[in-house]
Amino acid sequence: MSVIAKEKPRAFDSTAGPGPRRSHRLVRKIPLGYLVPAVVILLAFAAYPIFVLVRMAFSDVGPSNIVGVWNWVGFANFGTVFGLPEFWRGLARTAGLAAALLAVNLIVGFLVASVLSTTGRITNVVLGIMVFVWALPPIVSGSVWKFLLDDSGAVNTILHSVGLHPVSWLSSPGLALWTVAAVVAWAGIPFSALILRGGLLAITPEVIEAAAIDGAGYWRTQFAVVLPLLRPTMWILGILTVLYAFKSFDFFYVLTQGGPGTATNTLPVLSYYTAFSNFDMSTGATIAVISMLAVALFAIPYVRSIRQEPEE
């Protein structure tokens, strides 16, 4: 953008000849003009819906007045939500999901990235498959997992064939959350691996060679050299993973619908069903707003990290 700002004045000065003052104004306006579509889209599809969502959280809204007058109720909806035991359970489940995703995506993602940090035909094929998995719509991959993890599905058939007892992956209240978390993590591993692979490839070979000359073995090099160098990447990936956990809905919708009972009611799931099954729009919106605040809390360090990156 700064390049355009420096070069354009000369062009305007020599050809159009509107005078230096006018061309200077145009130059200042043109780069801003480029931003207009993005700003309009952002305002229309992000900022305004969020504003209305927040307003709904502070109002009494149901099916009878969704198109009509919304009575302002202040923080009453927040009081209602904080008084719901299911909200706190949902928050705990969401935190559990975030922890599971963090562990799997960082550890498995790092291992996969390490294996794929070389170049070659096999690596390219594996990377291609991973991108395919990552790009699959959750409704599709979720349906396949639902079929595989059913009590009489393929996974249990395999377990049975090797003499093991079948497992109620999606219908056991103690296991369902972690099963869905595993599927969500599975879908996220390609993203983590690709990000970490990028970080690994950015480490100069000289650093690794220096560690080898100093007598460091493979694992010591990984833990003492590679991981510290990957820390900024992992930090950003970790924050993105937590954000992902707080907005993860689709796999829950396909696999369990929040059940069995309420065992997989994370905050996004609870918000959705409260708003659209029970038609308690205000409470659903309030839960969504609280989730958003939690996400914003994690977004702040993310934005700071991004801004600090060029300095590093």
Binding site: R55, S64, I66, G261, A263, A275, A285
Partner: protein, 422 residues
């Protein structure tokens, strides 16, 4: 102006809340390129299987008879129909014709201004006398929903498994039913029962008849009878009569399981009578087993038909509804192909229905159904029961805790809906 601003607001919030529902799609069936001078009706429906095949055939017949009217059959995910309809009021691009899960969402959709007042159309309908008064769903004296058929729950059974298990006849009481399920389970080869226990209105719909026959409904949902019913279902889960995954099965999944031929019994609706014909085993149907000292009573269900409040072609939409849903031909073909029980008198009296042994239990059940609560929070009440029963089946809650949570949440929802019930 103010209404328009609010409409934009609602559209915006619907968009933000629906961002999470990435899987929701709509697809058009036909009439994409209608010639000029042709009226195109948008019909939002969630029919699948034989019901969809029937609808497509009926629609084609209608279009042939009315060349200036084309009908777009827009497929909507059933569980998302209500929210899409509510959002459509705000955006003004709703359907001309719609079906809805009438027993769950009628009060919500009426309150949301989704459906057009059809009172004058219904009152001037020449065949109105063929329908019982319950076919027209009224709010404040105005007709918003019509029913052309009813759907009820009954018990399907696999005759081959019953024979192999030494069971001579299907059960008529819950006690007999439990004895039979014990015999099947003890055999070790087959499973006993495939039913929905999902934490939704479907789980509630399947469980409620255990109490309805004892006079317990959403309006008086409390007491020892409720605890006993929850105890019974918890026992079914513990004894292996129903698999743990029942806690997440919807009715379609439960039906697929029954059709595998591995289950002795399947609790499901008469709309599966069309699909059961493809079973690779001998089958039969009977009424929902009655509780001790009670009767076999189920809730009446089925789709409501309505005209969208924002429809620009209400006259054509009404013509379509009369032809495709309310006519005698529609009732007869619907029964023949899907098993739906017609409410229209001259259709339900036909020989084809009277001599069909599989439909008789459902016809009997239709004569003595339970009454739904007339409360704006009826969806909330039913979902609360669904969650409780799902949690008990899965073992997330004990039977007594599940019963108590159902009693408390239903009471709370009822009060929140203004306390009205009948």
């Amino acid at each position: 102006m103010r209404r328009r601003t609010q409409a934009v607001r609602v559209a915006a919030v619907a968009a933000s809340l629906l961002l999470v529902a990435t899987g929701c799609t709509m697809s058009n069936d036909s009439a994409a390129n209608a010639p000029a001078g042709t009226t195109t009706l948008k019909f939002w429906n969630y029919y699948t299987g034989t019901q969809l095949t029937w609808l497509q055939a009926q629609t084609k017949k209608f279009e042939k008879a009315n060349p200036k009217i084309k009908v777009d059959l827009v497929q909507v995910v059933g569980s998302q129909q209500d929210q899409k309809l509510l959002a459509s009021v705000a955006t003004g691009n709703g359907p001309d014709v719609l079906i809805n899960n009438i027993v769950v969402d009628n009060p919500t959709l009426v309150a949301g201004g989704v459906m057009k007042d059809m009172t004058s159309m219904w009152n001037s309908y020449q065949d109105k006398a063929q329908y019982p008064s319950t076919a027209a769903w009224k709010t404040n004296g105005k007709v918003y929903n019509l029913m052309s058929y009813t759907n009820l729950i009954g018990l399907y059974y696999n005759k081959d498994i019953l024979k192999a298990s030494g069971i001579d006849s299907p059960p008529t009481t819950l006690t007999e039913f439990q004895d039979d399920m014990a015999k099947v389970t003890a055999g070790g080869t087959y499973k006993a029962l495939a039913e929905s226990g999902a934490p939704t209105v479907e789980g509630a719909w399947l469980f409620a008849p255990q109490l309805l026959g004892l006079g317990v409904n959403y309006c008086n949902f409390s007491g020892k009878k409720v605890t006993t019913a929850f105890d019974r279902v918890a026992g079914w889960s513990k004894k292996g009569y129903i698999p743990l995954s029942t806690a997440t099965w919807d009715q379609n999944t439960a039906w697929q399981q029954f059709m595998t031929g591995k289950y002795a019994f399947g609790l499901n609706g008469n709309w599966q009578l069309g699909n059961v014909k493809s079973a690779k085993f001998a089958y039969g149907t009977t009424e929902f087993p009655k509780p001790t000292d009670g009767t076999s009573t189920v809730y009446p269900g089925g789709e409501g038909i309505a005209i969208g409040a924002k429809s620009k072609h209400p006259a054509e939409a009404w013509k379509y509804i009369q032809s495709v849903f309310l006519s005698k031909d529609a009732a007869e073909t619907s029964f023949a192909q899907t098993g739906s029980i017609p409410l229209r008198k001259d259709a339900s009296d036909t020989q084809a229905i009277k001599t069909n042994t599989y439909v008789q239990p459902f016809l009997t059940a239709a004569q003595k159904t339970g009454t739904w609560p007339n409360n704006p929070k009826t969806a909330d009440m039913q979902t609360s029961l669904g969650k409780a029963i799902s949690s008990v089946i899965s073992g997330q809650q004990s039977a007594s805790a599940g019963a108590q949570s159902a009693i408390d949440t239903i009471k709370k929802a009822k009060a929140s809906g203004g306390g009205t019930c009948k």
